[in-house]
C-alpha cells in the first residue's frame, strides 16, 4: 500500500516536473533561440576523482548527463548539437584509458541505436566528425553504422567529434579542396561565379572551397560553445566555425551540468544576441 502510494506520488511529481519544464521552455522561446549549440565535455575524470569512482566511471556518468542535456536541447527546439567527445590529443593518454574510451564509445553508440532512446524519440540524425580512421576498428564500424542507420531521419542533428581537432579538419579540407580543384582543372570544368570569395584567383583555393570540404559543411556555425569545468580555452575545437560564436565556460564539471546551467547559457546568449546579429549583418555586407 505504501509502495503504491509512493509510486503514485512519484508519477504526479514527474508530471508536474514535465509541465514546469514545458512552461520554462515556452518562456525561453519568447527570445531568440540558438540553432546550434556545441559542448566541450570537460571534467569527467575530475568528477570521478571527486566522487571516488574508479577510472572510466566518470565517462559513464558523463554519457548519462549528455543524454539528458541532449533531450533538453531538442525539447527547446535546438536543431544542431555538436559534442567534443574525443580529441586527437587524447590518444596521448595511457593506452588502457584510450582502450577503455574506445570500448565505451562503441557500447554507447550501440545503445543509442536501440529502440526507445532519444534517437528514435526525436528522429535524430547522428554524424561523426573527425579522422575516423584513427579510431579502433569496432568503434569506427559502430560510428559508420550509426551514421548509416540515421541518415534518412529528418529530426535534429547530433554531431559527435571523435579523433577530431580543428587543425586536422582544416588539413583534410585543404586536401579535399586540392583534389577537387585538380580534377576540375583536368576536366576543364572550372566555372567562375564572379564572387571573389568563391573563385579566388584562377586555379587557387578559395575560402568557400575549404568551407565546402569541412566536416561541418552542411551545418550552420555554432551560436554557443559551452566548455564546462570553468576552463577558458577551446582546445582545438571548431576554431574555424566560431567567428561569431558566444563562448561560455560554466564552472560545473560536465557530469554536473544540469538543466539550470543550460537555461542560464541560453539566457546569456539571448542577452548578447543583438550584438552578434549586428556583427553578422556587418560581415554579410
Amino acid at each position: 500500500m505504501r509502495k503504491r502510494s509512493r509510486k503514485f506520488v512519484a508519477k504526479i511529481l514527474g508530471r508536474l516536473w514535465r509541465l514546469f519544464r514545458r512552461w520554462l521552455f515556452l518562456t525561453l522561446s519568447i527570445g531568440p533561440m540558438p540553432e546550434h549549440i556545441a559542448f566541450i565535455l570537460d571534467g569527467n575524470r575530475r568528477y570521478a576523482k571527486k566522487k571516488n569512482l574508479k577510472m572510466g566511471a566518470g565517462h559513464n556518468v558523463g554519457f548519462n548527463s549528455l543524454v539528458v542535456v541532449l533531450r533538453y536541447c531538442y525539447e527547446l527546439g535546438v536543431e544542431y548539437v555538436t559534442v567534443y567527445a574525443f580529441s586527437i590529443d587524447n590518444f596521448r593518454r595511457k593506452p588502457e584509458e584510450v582502450k577503455g574510451l574506445m570500448a565505451l564509445m562503441k557500447e554507447k553508440i550501440d545503445e543509442l541505436l536501440e529502440e526507445d532512446t532519444i534517437v528514435h524519440k526525436f528522429g535524430l540524425r547522428i554524424k561523426f566528425w573527425g579522422n575516423l580512421d584513427m579510431l579502433s576498428e569496432p568503434a569506427r564500424v559502430a560510428a559508420e553504422r550509426a551514421m548509416a542507420a540515421t541518415a534518412n531521419n529528418t529530426g535534429p542533428v547530433l554531431s559527435v567529434c571523435v579523433a577530431y581537432t580543428s587543425t586536422n579538419e582544416i588539413v583534410r579540407a585543404i586536401k579535399k579542396s586540392c583534389s577537387t580543384k585538380r580534377d576540375e582543372t583536368a576536366e576543364g570544368s572550372l566555372g567562375f561565379t564572379g564572387d571573389p570569395l568563391r573563385d579566388g584567383a584562377c586555379g587557387s583555393i578559395a575560402v568557400a572551397d575549404m568551407e565546402d570540404n569541412l566536416d561541418s559543411a552542411d551545418c550552420p556555425d555554432p551560436d554557443i560553445i559551452i566548455r564546462t569545468s570553468g576552463e577558458t580555452r577551446l582546445s582545438n575545437f571548431l576554431l574555424w566555425q566560431s567567428t561569431l560564436t558566444h563562448l561560455q565556460n560554466p564552472i560545473p564539471l560536465w557530469p554536473e551540468f544540469s538543466l539550470r546551467n543550460l537555461i542560464w547559457a541560453i539566457l546569456e546568449y539571448q542577452r548578447v544576441y543583438p550584438y552578434f546579429e549586428a556583427r553578422r549583418r556587418g560581415l554579410a555586407k
Binding site: 518562456t27 525561453l28 522561446s29 519568447i30 527570445g31 580529441s87 586527437i88 590529443d89 587524447n90 596521448r92 593518454r93 581537432t165 587543425t167 582544416i170 588539413v171 585543404i174 586536401k175 579535399k176 579542396s177 586540392c178 583534389s179 580543384k181 585538380r182 582543372t185 583536368a186 579566388g200 586555379g203 587557387s204 583555393i205 578559395a206 575560402v207 572551397d209 575549404m210 577558458t232 580555452r233 577551446l234 582546445s235 582545438n236 576554431l239 566560431s242 567567428t243 561569431l244 560564436t245 558566444h246 563562448l247 561560455q248 537555461i263 542560464w264 539566457l267 546569456e268 539571448q270 542577452r271 548578447v272 544576441y273 543583438p274 550584438y275 552578434f276 556583427r279 556587418g282 560581415l283
Partner: protein, 265 residues
C-alpha cells in the same frame, strides 16, 4: 563606471509562432523579462565585485598580485570589437599598461582592420629598426610587426584569418601541381599539419600562437582571430574597452600564471 550601461537589456517582440491566447503570451513575456532581470542583476553584482577587487588590487593590498610570474606568457593577443577599436586613446593606454607589466609580444586584432588604419601609423613612427629583434616570432613571417618600448606588436584582422589559410592552401596546391606524376593525379595530396604551417609561413600568414587572449567587447567571442593560432589559447572576456582597468589586467595575468594545461593528456 556606469553599471547600467554595462548590462544590455534585450527587447525582442513576441514571435508570431505562438498560437496562444494573448493573455498567455503576456504572462510568458512577463516571465521572460523576470528571467532576464535575474541575469542582469547577477551581472551587476559581478561588476560590483570586480570593481571592489580592482580597487583592492590597485591599493596594493593583495601581495600575490604584486609579483607576477609571466614566464609562461610568451605572447598575448588582444581582440577588440571594431567599434570600440576606434577609441585609439584607450588602445594606446592599454599598450602602455601591457608594456609596464612586462609583456614582450602583443597581437592586436579587430575584425574590420580598424586598428591597422589607426594605430599602425603611430606605431610605424615609433618603431626603431635598431631595436633588439623580436625573439617570439621570425619578423619575416609577419607582415605588420612594430615595436613599442620593449614590446613587439603585431596587428592583424579578419583578412589574416580564413583568407590567410586559403592562401596557404593555394600555395600547397600550386606546389602539388608541379608534380606531373600519375600517382599525384590519382590520389589525394598527402599534406600534414606541418606542411600547412610551413605554407602559412611562406605566404606571410603565420605568427605566434598567443598563450592568452583578452577580449574587449560586449561578449566573449574571438571574432575570427586566425584559427590556426588559437589551439590552446586561454580566452578571457575583459568587458568593454571604455571600462578597462589596470587592476583587472593584473588579476587576469595572475590567474593565467596559475593555469595548468595537460594538452589533452
Amino acid at each position: 563606471m556606469d553599471l547600467a550601461r554595462e548590462n544590455t537589456w534585450v527587447w525582442i517582440p513576441l514571435p508570431q509562432k505562438f498560437q496562444a491566447p494573448m493573455i498567455l503570451k503576456l504572462i510568458l513575456g512577463f516571465c521572460w523579462y523576470l528571467l532576464h532581470l535575474m541575469v542582469n542583476l547577477r551581472h551587476m553584482g559581478s561588476s560590483v565585485n570586480d570593481l571592489l577587487f580592482s580597487y583592492i588590487i590597485s591599493m596594493g593590498l593583495l601581495l600575490k598580485h604584486q609579483n607576477l610570474q609571466l614566464d609562461e606568457l610568451n605572447s598575448l593577443a588582444v581582440v577588440v570589437d571594431s567599434e570600440e577599436a576606434k577609441n585609439t586613446t584607450k588602445i594606446k593606454q592599454l599598450l602602455c599598461w601591457l608594456s609596464s607589466i612586462g609583456i614582450k609580444y602583443v597581437i592586436l586584432y579587430d575584425m574590420q582592420g580598424v586598428l591597422k588604419q589607426t594605430i599602425r601609423t603611430d606605431l610605424e613612427s615609433l618603431t626603431n629598426t635598431s631595436m633588439t629583434p623580436c625573439s617570439v616570432v621570425d619578423a619575416k613571417m609577419v607582415t605588420s610587426l612594430f615595436h613599442f618600448e620593449k614590446m613587439a606588436i603585431e596587428i592583424i584582422s579578419l583578412a589574416d584569418g580564413k583568407e590567410g589559410v586559403a592562401k596557404a592552401a593555394s600555395f600547397l596546391y600550386s606546389e602539388h601541381m608541379k608534380d606531373d606524376s600519375e600517382i599525384c593525379y590519382r590520389s589525394e595530396p598527402d599534406f600534414t599539419e606541418s606542411d600547412v604551417a610551413n605554407a602559412l609561413k611562406a605566404t606571410g600568414s603565420a605568427g605566434a600562437e598567443p598563450d592568452l587572449l583578452l577580449v574587449y567587447g560586449p561578449a566573449r567571442c574571438h571574432l575570427g582571430f586566425p584559427a590556426w593560432r588559437l589551439r590552446y589559447t586561454e580566452i578571457v572576456h575583459m568587458g568593454r574597452l571604455r571600462s578597462m582597468k589596470f587592476a583587472v589586467i593584473v588579476k587576469t595575468m595572475h590567474d593565467f600564471s596559475k593555469k595548468h594545461q595537460n594538452y589533452g593528456k
